[in-house]
């Protein structure tokens, strides 16, 4: 054998490579995958670019409908102005708008203190109040203030928080929970299931009976108990949810491991003298990853829905933190007066679940290409 030949062996195409090629040929799955990546990027990075913080309350803009043009609208200025002047305890004599500023003349029975203008600055509508002119007796004052331009693309919720930033932050939480609980379920399930399937015999019997016992516990009751137990720390709680959802995974993996253990290549490895650890790591686990990946894509939406359900019941994440489930829950309560509060989070949740299911479906076809 020449050195050149040793140096340049042909690179083969692995089964994973094949699966990837088949997945790429599946347009629905690829579109969904791109959508999921986009959703992830938007939810993670988006809140830094949205001008509003998800906790800021704009009391002037409670339940403002979504709009692509900036607030305040022309007819809203007067209402906001009246609110401010009421707090300043002065009467409005006249006001007019000049470009982006308003010029206001007010009167009172007592001399007007300049410091009253703070009320103007504190308002969500006006900013940068300046005294233009004060009458000699101090009972009348003319001042100007800038009108703050605010965008609420998704509208605001029922206490006046920007729904766009809240939806994105909620997406962070929901996706993180889905991944976190999914990963926990996969790790426990794969380790437990493959050990049971690979060891077989009595060990397998005992391990799977334990799973059966856990299965028979009422699930929602169990989760509620854990929530009470872990004091609503959401990371801990969803570790716990993952720790419940691994049961399915363990069963699937055990079945796979049982059949892989009987494959000739495992027997061949045994004949080579490879120990149980080597067989488990080199032969059993790589060959059962296919079904695991598929199941994981189906598990993530399951967890997201579960979280939504718990949040809907009021057992999920706590204010001001939020998740899609929480937003949908409050949106549902305000469906008559502010339907956007339901529509936007619901669209995000549903489209993400759709995409996840399409990807799962595509993966199943790609990894298990039996002619159908």
């Amino acid at each position: 054998m020449t050195e050149a030949a040793i140096a340049a062996p042909v690179v083969g195409r692995s089964l994973w490579g094949d699966a990837w090629a088949r997945l790429k040929a599946n347009r629905a799955a690829m579109v969904s995958l791109c959508y999921l990546v986009l959703m992830g990027v938007v939810c993670v990075a988006g809140p830094w670019f949205v001008p509003h913080d998800y906790t800021t309350i704009y009391s002037d803009y409670v339940r403002t409908p979504p709009s692509v043009s900036p607030y305040p609208k022309a007819d809203m200025i007067e209402g906001a102005l009246n609110d401010v002047l009421k707090r300043m305890r002065v009467d409005l004599k006249e006001w007019k708008q000049e470009d982006s500023r308003v010029v206001i003349t007010v009167a009172s029975t007592r001399p007007i203190d300049e410091r009253y203008l703070r009320y103007v600055d504190r308002s969500d509508t006006f900013d940068d109040a300046k005294v233009e002119n004060t009458s000699p007796d101090g009972l009348e004052m003319t001042f100007s203030a800038a009108v703050k331009q605010q965008y609420f693309l998704f509208g605001t919720d029922n206490v006046g928080r920007d729904l766009l930033s809240r939806t994105l932050v909620a997406g962070r939480i929901s996706l993180a929970i889905g991944l976190l609980a999914g990963v926990v379920a996969v790790i426990i399930g794969v380790l437990y299931g493959s050990t049971a399937g690979f060891m077989g015999g009595k060990v397998d019997e005992v391990m799977m009976r334990i799973v059966d016992v856990l299965y028979s516990l009422p699930f929602i009751f169990f989760v509620i108990m854990l929530v009470v137990f872990f004091g609503r720390n959401f990371v801990l709680m969803f570790l716990a949810v993952g720790a419940v959802l691994w049961l399915d995974m363990a069963r699937i993996v055990r079945g796979q491991a049982l059949s892989i253990r009987r494959q000739e290549y495992v027997q061949a490895a045994e004949a080579l003298g490879v120990g149980p650890r080597g067989i488990l790591l080199r032969h059993v686990i790589p060959n059962l990853l296919g079904p695991v990946v598929i199941y994981m894509t189906l598990l993530v939406p399951q967890v997201i829905i579960l979280e939504s359900f718990l949040s809907f019941l009021g057992l999920g994440v706590q204010e001001p933190m939020t998740s899609w489930g929480v937003l949908i829950s409050t949106g549902a309560k305000n469906i008559g007066s502010a339907n956007w509060m339901l529509l936007f989070p619901a669209f995000f949740l549903v489209s993400t679940l759709f995409a996840l299911n399409f990807v799962g479906d595509g993966l199943r076809d790609a990894l298990d290409p039996k002619d159908r």
Binding site: M1, A5, I6, A8, P9, V10, V11, G12, R13, S14, L15, W16, D18, A21, R22, A25, Q263, E264, Y265, Q267, A268, A269, E270, A271, L272, G273, V274, G275, G278, R282, H283, P286, N287, D371, R372
Partner: protein, 539 residues
């Protein structure tokens, strides 16, 4: 033959499959015609497109396949018929039997149900009439005790009986043409002979045409009137059976006819040391039983067998499926728990556990039958071949291992440049070479070869047999060669053990067993095998 009316005429048939790597042309425009009552054989090795030709004609292609050309059955083009019209021909006028009788029957229904259902559906028979008809069919295919068998489930029957049921189902509508796709490949030799006799008898009785798709030239010579030899989607030669066998024109046909493994193995010198010895080896499987299930049934898969393998010797273990030959091989390697004494290299390893066996594993290697199942699909060939080195020579660097892999692949006649490829990218014969390289890289003393050639085409079999002999000569190996194929065993082994139901029925030097079999069972076995290989004498 020209007096026969042509009932099936395949013209310019092409079959294409759309795959990720583009379109693959499996059948490249072939012409086949079949006369009434004629037996036509389509012969070729795996991948020659012989099965796909018939699948296309019956419109049974996989969903990514498409066929073009014409398949004319009594004036109707099957490729252009509508679904309902097609079903009046398919399954009634042209019926098929497949290779795998295990999977062709629905495990959830009794044999009687499966036979009666289509009769009642298609021919409108009453339950009683269908029952009578099903019984008649079962008698026709010589199923013993047909009344009782009507109530049996497929798993209760042997492979041969299942294949008989399949034939009965195919005959239900009195077909014109019976397409038999490797009908005997999955069966033992003695059963094979019975099924073939049955088919011949039925053909005489009903006068239907039979299309035999097979790789086994023995069957062809015995049964077919005419032969089509296929290779990579083309018919390379066609003609009357005798003409093809006596005067093959195409090189490929000649190669197929000469693909019988030849040569004999010389016995080891008389003073050769005994390397692996088993005394009264017994393997018992417990079936069923356990908690609440009562006492298990005991199955003596290997029943007190003694065997002595000398250095440089090859012992052939012959027997039909279920005879315990593979179990014996694994028990001797301590891969299965067994009773009795097993000695290797003057060491008693009867009670050796995993740990004690591990260092010995490199000297005792195993090669499996199925080259598709015995290589892990997620590892590259290089990783597969060097896995043993990880265990037995953990000190080697990755580069050293790579060099050993190159040497091992080179030795078994594979291009070492392909070592980063994955097993599924290789053909059956190449995969078997990889499996052999995996065993040889450890420089073993004893190799148990468990049907290493059964899943391979004849021409490839011959190459593998030659490779194994070469390796034996080069490295002074001892083989335990397990096989049901007597011609391969004859070429490989110098000593033969015939097994049946876990026991040795006869043993002795190869020539003695082949020329003067003493036991009645051995004689049947030899007769069945020689029957199907008779043609080779004249080829």
């Amino acid at each position: 033959m020209s007096s026969r009316e042509t009932i099936l005429d395949v013209k310019d048939l092409k079959v294409r499959f759309r795959t990720l790597d583009g379109t693959v042309e499996a059948v490249k425009g072939i012409n086949i015609h079949v006369g009434a009552g004629e037996t036509v054989a389509v012969v070729g090795e795996s991948g020659s497109g012989k099965s796909q030709t018939m699948m296309a004609a019956m419109r049974l292609l996989a969903s990514n396949g498409e066929a073009s050309g014409t398949v004319d059955y009594r004036g109707r083009n099957l490729l252009a018929l509508g679904k309902s019209e097609l079903n009046t021909v398919r399954g009634s006028k042209i019926s098929m039997i497949f290779q795998e009788p295990m999977t062709s029957l629905d495990p959830l229904y009794t044999i009687g149900n499966q036979l009666m259902e289509p009769m009642r559906r298609h021919r409108g028979l009453s339950a009683a009439e269908a029952h009578e008809e099903a019984l008649r069919l079962l008698r026709l295919v010589h199923i013993p005790d047909p009344e009782r068998r009507m109530k049996s489930y497929p798993y209760e029957m042997s492979g041969g009986q299942r294949q008989r049921v399949m034939i009965a189902m195919a005959l239900a509508n009195d077909p014109d043409i019976l397409i038999a796709d490797e009908p005997t490949t999955a069966l033992d030799v003695t059963i094979q002979a019975q099924i073939l006799t049955l088919l011949a008898e039925l053909q005489q009785k009903f006068g239907m045409a039979i299309i035999f798709i097979t790789h086994d030239l023995g069957i062809v010579r015995r049964f077919a009137d005419r032969v089509y030899v296929m290779r990579s989607g083309e018919v390379v030669e066609e003609g009357a059976t005798e003409a093809i066998f006596t005067h093959p024109r195409h090189d490929y046909t000649k190669m197929l006819l000469a693909a019988e493994p030849t040569g004999r193995k010389e016995p080891p010198p008389p003073g050769a040391p005994i390397l692996l010895e088993g005394r009264n080896v017994e393997v018992t499987f417990r079936i069923g039983g356990g908690f609440l299930a009562g006492d298990p049934m005991l199955l003596h898969a290997v029943d007190r067998i003694s065997i002595r393998l000398k250095r440089r010797q090859t012992i052939g273990i012959v027997g039909e499926s279920g005879s315990g030959k593979s179990t014996l091989g694994r028990a001797l390697l301590k891969l299965l728990p067994s009773e009795g004494v097993i000695r290797f290299d003057d060491r008693d390893i009867s009670d050796a556990d995993r740990q004690t066996m591990r260092p010995l594993r490199r000297e005792l290697q195993l090669v499996f039958q199925d080259p598709f199942g015995s290589l892990s699909p997620r590892m590259t060939v290089g990783q597969v071949v060097t896995e043993g080195l990880l265990v037995h020579e953990p000190g080697l660097s990755a580069r050293q291992r790579d060099q050993r892999a190159v040497a091992a692949l080179h030795e078994v006649g594979l291009d070492p440049n392909a070592r980063n490829r994955y097993p599924h990218e290789f053909s059956g014969g190449q995969r078997q070479r990889i499996a052999i390289a995996r065993a040889m890289i450890l420089k073993p003393k004893v190799v148990v070869l468990d049907e290493p050639t059964s899943a391979l085409d004849r021409s490839v079999q011959k190459q593998i047999v030659e490779l194994l002999r070469q390796l034996q000569a080069d490295h002074g190996l001892s083989y335990l060669f397990i096989s049901h194929d007597l011609s391969v065993v004859r070429a490989m082994a110098d000593y033969i053990i015939v097994m049946r139901q876990g026991r040795i029925v006869e043993e002795g030097p190869t020539e003695a067993i082949f020329d003067h079999p003493q036991d009645a069972y051995t004689q049947t076995l030899m007769a069945a095998a020689i029957d199907s290989s008779r043609f080779r004498a004249s080829a």
